[in-house]
């Protein structure tokens, strides 16, 4: 059963790493669709 619990732990780790990692790398939909300034041309 150790492998099963280890896999469940890995799911949580991968999810957290994916969330912070992708956010840090700029792969967030919010970042991609917004910016601090608005172009008014």
């Amino acid at each position: 059963m150790k492998s099963m619990y280890l896999a469940f732990l890995a799911i949580a780790v991968v999810a957290v790493v994916a969330y912070f990692g992708l956010g840090y790398a700029g792969f967030s939909a919010q970042d991609a669709g917004s910016s601090p300034s608005v172009r008014l041309n």
């Binding site: 059963m1 150790k2 492998s3 099963m4 280890l6 896999a7 469940f8 890995a10 799911i11 991968v14 999810a15 957290v16 994916a18 969330y19 792969f27 939909a29 991609a32 669709g33 917004s34 910016s35 608005v38 172009r39 008014l40 041309n41």
Partner: protein, 403 residues
């Protein structure tokens, strides 16, 4: 031979799936608009009210023609010969030449007509048929259990254990399986939460649950994809079809009758079907999921439709030429629709897999729990594999440890 009760089960299943067939939208008859100069008539309004399929190209294409523009000296000259109604229709059908300050990929789509069709499909047939498919499968499994009971080994257990899956294989299985269960539950939560959870807990409590569910769904998806790759690499060589699979399938794997144990290697034909279904559906759901994770960045349907059109498949199947000029939102809506359809098929298959791997068959869970199974269990369900394992062990003994 498959016993009569199982034929009745299959008939019951068919009846269950056919029951919710609704009335499909009918095409509205051709409407004469000469009296209104081409504008909407009362018949158009009545057709819309009765949800008939209406060809509204008389409106979507009526957005002004520069050639017909009135000169500036005319009363409508200030609008360049285009009336306000034509301007509104151009906005309505996303044909207006506009500039927006936002720079996101889909910001210049002011109105997206396909949204309503997508919403109607999501709230209608997708939820209805998908929901019935899950309920029908669960009902079928309960019925199977009531008729067949738990599948037990025919011979007495020996107490001698054989290692069926080493820890890396069990880890990969549970990485995939655990993430799949989380994705399935949170996906269903997103689709059905509005109907079933809000009435129970209220809007205020549902909001954080929905946000949390979406977070889990978006981020656990990566664990699912890693698990899918691991499982593919570890097991693909064991899942190549062979002649034993035909024998296994011919007797229904022995699932329907006692004392029938068709030969099987590490994976029997049923498990191979599950394996390839998981790989194909898993790949498809991953690709559409990644497209949804990065909205508008990785559209896939326009390109897919283009490829399908070029090989002529949709035309052969009677769908005609599929549209390739899709608005960004349309591509996302198609990705979401496809993602959900695949998910329902996937869940139905995995429900059967979970049943047989737990309550449905004695000793099956041990293979993925401790990794070891009883020799008698292995002999009855994977006889050829047990022979291979024993032969390897015997060879290893004869060779002896290296000195």
């Amino acid at each position: 031979m498959i016993p009569r009760p199982f034929f009745l089960m299959i008939l019951a299943m068919l009846a269950l799936f056919c029951a919710p067939v609704g009335v499909l939208a009918q095409d509205a008859p051709a409407i004469d608009r000469s009296a209104t100069g081409g504008a909407s008539t009362l018949d158009d309004i009545l057709a819309r009210q009765t949800k008939q399929k209406l060809d509204d190209s008389y409106r979507s294409t009526d957005i002004g023609d520069p050639i017909l523009a009135a000169p500036e000296t005319d009363p409508l000259g200030s609008l360049g010969g285009i009336s306000q109604s034509e301007d509104w229709r151009a906005l309505r059908y996303n044909k207006a030449d506009i500039t927006v300050s936002a720079r996101s990929p889909a910001a210049d789509v002011l109105m997206q007509d396909g949204g309503m069709a997508w919403l109607a499909f999501r709230a209608g047939p997708l939820s209805t048929y998908g929901g019935w498919a899950l309920i029908g499968t669960l009902g079928l499994l309960v019925l199977f259990y009531l008729i067949r009971g738990r599948i037990r080994t025919d011979g007495p257990l020996t107490g001698r254990k054989v290692l069926r899956f080493p820890s890396i294989e069990r880890f990969a299985h549970w990485l995939l399986g655990g993430s799949f269960i989380l994705l399935g539950l949170t996906g269903l939560f997103q689709l059905f939460g509005r109907h079933f959870i809000i009435p129970l807990v209220g809007h205020d409590a549902f909001a954080p649950l929905a946000i949390g569910g979406k977070w889990v769904h978006n981020n656990v998806a990566w664990a699912f994809m890693i698990g899918l790759i691991m499982v593919t690499v570890l097991w693909v060589s064991h899942n190549i079809p062979n002649k034993h699979d035909l024998k296994w399938l011919a007797v229904g794997g022995g699932l329907f009758s006692k004392g029938v144990h068709p030969p099987a290697k590490k994976f029997n034909a049923g498990q191979k079907i599950i394996f390839w279904a998981v790989i194909i559906l898993g790949l498809s759901i991953s690709v559409s999921g990644v497209s949804l994770l990065f909205p508008f960045e990785l559209p896939m349907f326009a390109a897919t439709f283009d490829v399908l059109n070029s090989i002529g498949l949709p035309q052969v199947l009677g769908f005609g030429v599929l549209p390739t000029d899709l608005a960004p939102h349309e591509d996302m809506q198609l990705a979401q629709t496809w993602h959900s359809i695949i998910a329902f098929v996937f869940i139905v298959i995995i429900l059967a897999h979970i049943y047989l791997g737990s309550v449905g068959m004695q000793g099956a869970f041990d293979a993925m729990g401790s990794g070891e199974v009883d020799e008698q269990w292995a002999k009855e369900h994977h006889g050829l594999w047990l022979e291979e394992v024993k032969a390897k062990a015997s060879n290893a003994k004869q060779v002896g440890p290296a000195e």
